[in-house]
C-alpha cells in the first residue's frame, strides 16, 4: 500500500467543497485571527488554476483590488477556509488561464457558461 497516502488519510481531514475549475468566479470565506478575535474575510476572484491532488491540492484566485492585480493561493483542505461559494461558471479553453494576467478591463472578461 502507498504509505504516504496512508499517512495523509490518517492526518488530513478531507473537506467537502463545491466543484469548480479554472475560469470560474468564486468567493473564498477565510477565517482570520486578530489577537483573540476571529473574523471572516472574503476573497472574490477568478480561479486561475487548480494544482496538486487530493490532500495537498491548492487553487489560485485572482482579483483586481484598487486597480492592482492580487493573487492568492489557498490549500484546498485548509481548515481556515470556512466555505467556498461559486458565483459564476466561466467558459475557458484551458486548465490554467495565466493569460488573464496580461489583460485588464474589458479584455479580462470571461464568458459565462449557459446552463
Amino acid at each position: 500500500m502507498d504509505l504516504v497516502k496512508f499517512v495523509e488519510e490518517s492526518l488530513v481531514e478531507k473537506r467537502e467543497i463545491p466543484e469548480f475549475k479554472a475560469g470560474d468566479t468564486v468567493t473564498v470565506v477565510y477565517k482570520i485571527k486578530e489577537g483573540n478575535k476571529e473574523r471572516e474575510q472574503l476573497f472574490q476572484g477568478v480561479v486561475l488554476q487548480r494544482k496538486g491532488h487530493e490532500n495537498t491540492a491548492t487553487f489560485t484566485v485572482r482579483k483586481i483590488s484598487n486597480g492592482v492585480g492580487v493573487e492568492r493561493i489557498f490549500p484546498t483542505n485548509s481548515p481556515k477556509i470556512s466555505r467556498i461559494e461559486v458565483n459564476k461558471r466561466g467558459v475557458v479553453r484551458r486548465a490554467r488561464i495565466f493569460y488573464l494576467r496580461k489583460f485588464s478591463g474589458k479584455k479580462a472578461r470571461i464568458e459565462e457558461k449557459r446552463v
Binding site: 504509505l3 504516504v4 496512508f6 499517512v7 492526518l11 488530513v12 490549500p75 483542505n77 485548509s78
Partner: protein
C-alpha cells in the same frame, strides 16, 4: 545515542490544530534486529549493532550469512552501529519505533541525492563573474580568479572548483517527530530528510 534504521517513503503535508500547513516526511523505520553487542572487554568499546531491510539469501556472502544466523535472523541489507544505546539490548532483540515519543526532536543521517558534475555556482554558491550586459559574454557562471600569480605560483589545496556534487553523507539536525504509527512502523518527521525516496536513513535521538 539511541537510533533506528529506516527508509524514506516520501513527503506530504497536513494541517495542525491551529490550521498551519506542516510539511513532513514519512519514514518507514524498523523493526531492526540486534545483530551484535560490542562490549568494552571484547571489542574495546561498547556499542549495539542493528540491521534492517530484507536481503535475498543467494545474494548474501557466506560470512554475512553466518553473522545473521548467529543473531537468529534472516540476512539484512543495512547494518549500523550505535554507541551508548539507552535501552539495554541483547543479541536477537528487535528495535521498533517505540523508542521514540511524539514531539521529540531527532537527527537524521542519509546520503544526499547525486547531482553529477556541477559548476561552482550550484556546487559552492559562487555568484559568477559580472553581469549580462556591457559586452560581457560567457562569464555568468564562471569561477573567477583561482589565486595570485608569481607568488605563490600555484593553486592552494582545497580551492573550491567544479566537480561531483551530491551523494554525500548528510545529517539533518533537530527534526521534530510529529506522529508515530507503530502498526505500520511509520514515523512522520517535520521538514525534509536527505536522500532519495526509498533510500536508507538512520534516525537518532
Amino acid at each position: 545515542m539511541s537510533g533506528i534504521i529506516g527508509k524514506k517513503v516520501g513527503m506530504t503535508s497536513y494541517f495542525d490544530a491551529e490550521g498551519r500547513n506542516i510539511p513532513c516526511t514519512v519514514v518507514e523505520a524498523g523493526p531492526c534486529v540486534v545483530t551484535q553487542v560490542r562490549t568494552e572487554d571484547h571489542d574495546g568499546y561498547a556499542a549495539v549493532q542493528i540491521a534492517y531491510g530484507e536481503r535475498k539469501e543467494k545474494n548474501t556472502p557466506a560470512a554475512l550469512k553466518g553473522h545473521f544466523k548467529k543473531a537468529g535472523t534472516t540476512p539484512k541489507r543495512k547494518v549500523v552501529e550505535f554507541k551508548g544505546f539507552e535501552k539495554e539490548l541483547n543479541l536477537g532483540d528487535t528495535v521498533t519505533v517505540d523508542i521514540f515519543t511524539e514531539g521529540e526532536y531527532c537527527d537524521v543521517v542519509g546520503v544526499s541525492k547525486g547531482k553529477g558534475h556541477q559548476g561552482v555556482v550550484k556546487r559552492h554558491g559562487f555568484a559568477g563573474v559580472g553581469g549580462r550586459t556591457h559586452g560581457q559574454h560567457n562569464r555568468l557562471r564562471a569561477p573567477g580568479s583561482l589565486g595570485a600569480a608569481s607568488y605563490p605560483s600555484r593553486v592552494f589545496k582545497g580551492m573550491r572548483m567544479a566537480g561531483r556534487m551530491g551523494g554525500d553523507t548528510v545529517k539533518a539536525f533537530n527534526l521534530q517527530i510529529m506522529k508515530i504509527i507503530p502498526e505500520q512502523n511509520l514515523l512522520v518527521l517535520r521538514g525534509s530528510v536527505p536522500g532519495a525516496k526509498g533510500s536508507f536513513i538512520t534516525i537518532e535521538i
